[in-house]
């Protein structure tokens, strides 16, 4: 609220600076703005930028990091009563002190005796710090705004190259925005690596990557005996791979064949109708596919297998089929395959279209039929690109979350049976991070270990795929 108000005041101030700068420029040219180096607008903008931008940056930084600074200062001294608490209870204590100080609802923990005294002291301290920070920030912003204006305003004269200066500001802004993309990657990598590193301090990375037992719910605390052995992620990798494989078995043939048909056979009208329809399939949110899998495909498949089991002569297979559950790997895999069809098809379509027409014409001239041309000329030429498309689809399948969360199970099992319940990396991340969580337990941190693994795998797949596509493009350019 305070930040918004001060930003508003700042905006007004830079508006005034704009008018003043513009007026001074026009006045210095004696009213003939033709004499000026730049258009009058640029002089005004120059003054407004110096008056507004640095102060606004300070205010925004203050709003983003003020809470953090406050916390750090609060926690610099810890009363004895608080130090006696467990680490995560201490965290609750400080967040409560912070919340009460900024008039937000605290947690439901009751404080008594010495703790209550300590809390009240901390709340008072937090309020003091908050006031100091706010006053400091506002004063800083005021000084910056005035200083900027006083720096810029006297410079304005007929010779002053205001346009070039303003364009300098613009290019700083543009570069800043492009760096945002890099910062996002950096943020992803740093946060994943940092939290995973904390996880790997309590769990050996080797036993995480190669262990075959996954039961993080049992290992609630780090000091438990079972904690080390319970974080073996191999069953998750196996489950992810199984579902991915089923999905690709559905998506690859259907997607590829429809791409071939659309690019080589279909008339303009058919293409014009079918392509948008496939795009609809691509635009459906994954949570809708998840709903479809859980409440339609799951019961349907289950009923189907149960009926087959009932029809078969009695035996272990029949009994097994009769007991099949909704949450089988096959259901999640098939629905994920449906989701990937438009993805595979549109990527392959682009790649097939990129094969030069001269190759096809040459093949037709030799008397080949259309399908022979496709099979013997177009597809071999497009093969690297299609492989890349498949890799991208695999990467999507591995990272897909909602379908598996809603339709696959939670049980970590090492199995290759598509009718069995399996769980995936993404399902486990969701399960570990939703609901009650203490942030420092290896149980929660293991989600970041899984996330890091997922990120590395998908990134590798993408880089390889993009490389292939690039090489392939160069070949025909």
């Amino acid at each position: 609220m305070l930040t918004w108000l001060s930003l508003l005041v700042l905006a007004l101030f830079s508006g005034v600076a704009f008018a003043a700068g513009r007026r001074r420029a026009v006045a210095s040219a004696g009213g003939r703005s033709r004499v000026l180096h730049s258009l009058p607008v640029y002089y005004g903008t120059y003054a407004a930028l110096w008056a507004g931008a640095p102060a606004a940056l300070l205010l925004l930084l203050g709003a983003s990091f003020g809470g953090r600074i406050e916390d750090a200062m609060l926690q610099s001294s810890r009363p004895a009563a608080v130090q006696a608490l467990e680490p995560d209870r201490q965290a609750v204590f400080y967040s409560d002190a912070h919340a009460i100080a900024s008039k937000q609802p605290p947690s439901e923990v009751a404080y008594e005796g010495e703790l209550k005294v300590a809390l009240d002291a901390k709340v008072a301290e937090a309020q003091r710090i908050e006031t100091v920070l706010n006053v400091g920030m506002l004063a800083g912003a005021g000084v910056l705004a005035l200083a900027g204006f006083l720096l810029a305003f006297p410079r304005i004269s007929t010779e002053f190259r205001a346009r070039n200066r303003v364009e300098g500001w613009v290019s700083i802004l543009l570069i800043g925005c492009s760096v945002a993309a890099v910062l996002t990657t950096l943020g992803i990598v740093l946060s994943l690596v940092w939290e995973s590193w904390r996880f790997f301090q309590s769990v050996n990375p080797i036993s995480f990557l190669f262990g075959t037992e996954w039961s993080p719910q049992i290992a609630m605390r780090a000091d438990q005996v079972a904690s080390a052995g319970a974080f073996g992620a191999v069953p998750l990798f196996a489950g992810t791979f199984l579902i991915m494989l089923i999905a690709m078995l559905v998506a690859a043939p259907v997607g590829l064949y429809s791409a071939i048909y659309l690019s080589e056979y279909a008339s303009r009208t058919v293409r014009g109708v079918v392509k948008p329809l496939l795009e609809i399939l691509a635009g459906v949110p994954t949570v809708v596919y998840g709903f479809f899998a859980a409440l339609t495909v799951g019961p349907l498949f289950r009923a189907g297998f149960n009926a087959i089991g009932a029809a078969l002569p009695a035996g272990p297979l029949a009994t097994y089929l009769m007991e099949v559950q909704n949450q089988m790997a096959l259901v999640a895999g098939v629905v994920m395959g449906i989701m990937l069809i438009p993805f595979v098809s549109s990527l392959s379509d682009d790649i097939i279209n990129a094969v030069p027409q001269s190759l096809r014409d040459g093949s037709y001239a030799m008397g080949a039929t259309k399908s022979e041309t496709v099979k013997k000329v177009v597809l071999p030429a497009a093969l690297p690109g299609i492989m890349a498309a498949m890799l991208l689809a695999v990467s999507r399948a591995v990272g897909e979350t909602m379908i598996v969360t809603m339709a696959a199970g939670l049980q970590a099992k090492l199995t290759a049976n598509p009718l069995d319940t399996v769980t995936t990396v993404t399902v486990q991340i969701v399960t570990l991070l939703t609901g009650d969580q203490e942030f420092d337990s290896p149980k929660t941190l293991s989600a970041f270990g899984l996330g890091l693994t997922l990120f590395v795998v998908t990134l590798t797949l993408n880089i390889v795929a993009l490389r292939i596509v690039q090489k392939y493009r160069e070949q025909y350019d």
Binding site: S178, I188, E195, V287, L466
Partner: protein
């Protein structure tokens, strides 16, 4: 033909041999084409089944059955000193029993069964009325409200009389009562406005999508305010200003890879960066919008770059030729001409962000939020997450509502996509 009359045996044999092979080749051709058609049909059948199934499961939600009943506010049952503690549900049950001409027994089984038919909404209505005007006690007021979800499902044919009594939620007596109430005209069906004017609730008949729709809108505003300007400016720099060197190459590869990072990883980033490090309130539209903005950024950049690429160099050369600076050329001429393409790309990536669920689960949006979010930093839920939450509920009536929430979500996405298409059709220029 001449060679037939000539009767030369050898060439004719060769021709027939070739004929057999040609037949085979043509058969292969037809098979291949049929496979292509089959693939497309399979894909389209999936689409039809998906959409059809959701519509058929969800459309019934838009109809609701309501009960109108005169309720006598019995002064003996209402303790004026503690209005919130009164058992209003029983008062409502009494009114319905009176309407049905049945008496409660000593154990209260009849009234309990009646309470299973009417929504608790009636009780809240009485409480609110009494709080506003305590003088109503002792009078009879006409109340109008929803039936309980199971009773509603009976009228919609989801709960059938043919089902064995033990297998359904309502017994024969309750079904008889419902029929009787309908005959007297107390129960009417109508459009379910409540679904659009109420927020999440633990009772299916009172649960609606308003809170989720508002939450989604607030979140999308944040996403649009961050992702669109930053993305467009970044793309402008990369396409128009950036020198071709190793740094810009890195940025480019980076953006392409970011576009393919699984969405759940963005959720982990949001959890670690925004919530644990910057202390942004959990499950607020602000933090959700920030995460989705990071996610939408690469797609906005990619779309803007292709729109900028489509503007022919002659425009730039003409502007530079009459003395515009590089910046003026880009911001006065190139970017405005690319704007339709940019906006199309931006709307499409926002539509995608609207349907995104997984990263929001990481930042605590799964919590139960009854009511419309109080602000950008208050707790909120959004449409796709509401779908996820309701899908997990065990009551059958919630499944119907899940499908209806999906329909609402899809309508919003269709509107956004249609807007993008119209924008492209109307303003796109071919050079």
């Amino acid at each position: 033909m001449t060679d037939a009359t000539l009767g030369a045996a050898a060439p004719r044999q060769a021709l027939t041999a070739a004929d057999a092979r040609l037949k085979k080749r043509h058969a292969a051709e037809r098979r291949f084409k049929a496979q292509g058609i089959a693939a497309i049909i399979v894909a389209l059948v999936f689409l039809v089944v998906l959409v059809g199934r959701i519509v058929s499961q969800g459309y019934t939600t838009f109809e609701a059955h309501t009960l109108t009943v005169p309720v006598y506010l019995n002064p003996d049952r209402i303790d004026t000193s503690d209005l919130s503690g009164v058992n209003y549900d029983y008062i409502v049950a009494e009114a319905v029993m009176k309407k049905l001409n049945v008496q409660d027994d000593d154990l209260g089984t009849i009234s309990t069964k009646v309470q299973d038919l009417v929504s608790r909404d009636f009780g809240f209505q009485i409480l609110n009325k009494l709080k506003a005007d305590p003088k109503l006690i002792g009078q009879t007021i006409e109340l109008h409200g929803p039936l309980k979800a199971d009773a509603d499902l009976y009228f919609k044919g989801e709960i059938k009389r043919e089902t064995a009594e033990g297998d359904r939620k309502l017994d024969n007596q309750q079904l008889d009562w419902l029929d009787k109430l309908e005959k007297t005209g107390a129960i009417k069906s109508g459009f379910n406005f409540a679904f659009f004017t109420s927020s999440d609730s633990t009772e299916p008949e009172q649960a609606g999508v308003l809170g989720a729709v508002v939450g989604s809108a607030m979140m999308l505003i944040i996403t649009a305010l961050i992702a669109v300007p930053v993305g467009v400016l970044a793309a402008t720099y990369l396409e128009e200003f950036a020198p071709k060197n190793r740094w810009t190459d890195i940025i480019e590869v980076n953006i392409n890879n970011l576009a393919a990072v699984p969405s759940i990883v963005y959720g982990l980033l949001g959890l670690a960066l925004f919530i644990n490090w910057l202390n942004v309130p959990r499950s607020s539209p602000l933090v959700g919008g920030l995460v989705l903005a990071l996610m939408a950024l690469p797609t906005v950049i990619i779309a803007t770059r292709s729109a900028l690429k489509a503007v022919p160099p002659s425009i730039r050369e003409a502007a530079l030729g009459v003395g515009a600076s590089k910046t003026q050329t880009v911001f006065h001429h190139v970017l405005p001409l690319a704007m339709p393409g940019v906006m199309t790309g931006a709307i499409l990536s926002l539509a995608h962000a609207l349907g995104e669920t997984a990263p929001l689960l990481m930042i605590g949006m799964v919590s139960f939020v009854p009511g419309v979010p109080e602000g950008f930093t208050g707790a909120a839920t959004v449409l796709p997450v509401q779908v996820f939450i309701w899908e997990n509920a065990s009551e059958r009536a919630f499944h119907e509502r899940t499908a209806a929430a999906i329909i609402v979500l899809l309508v919003f996405m269709i509107v956004m996509n249609a807007a993008a298409v119209i924008l492209r059709r109307r303003f796109e220029r071919r050079w």
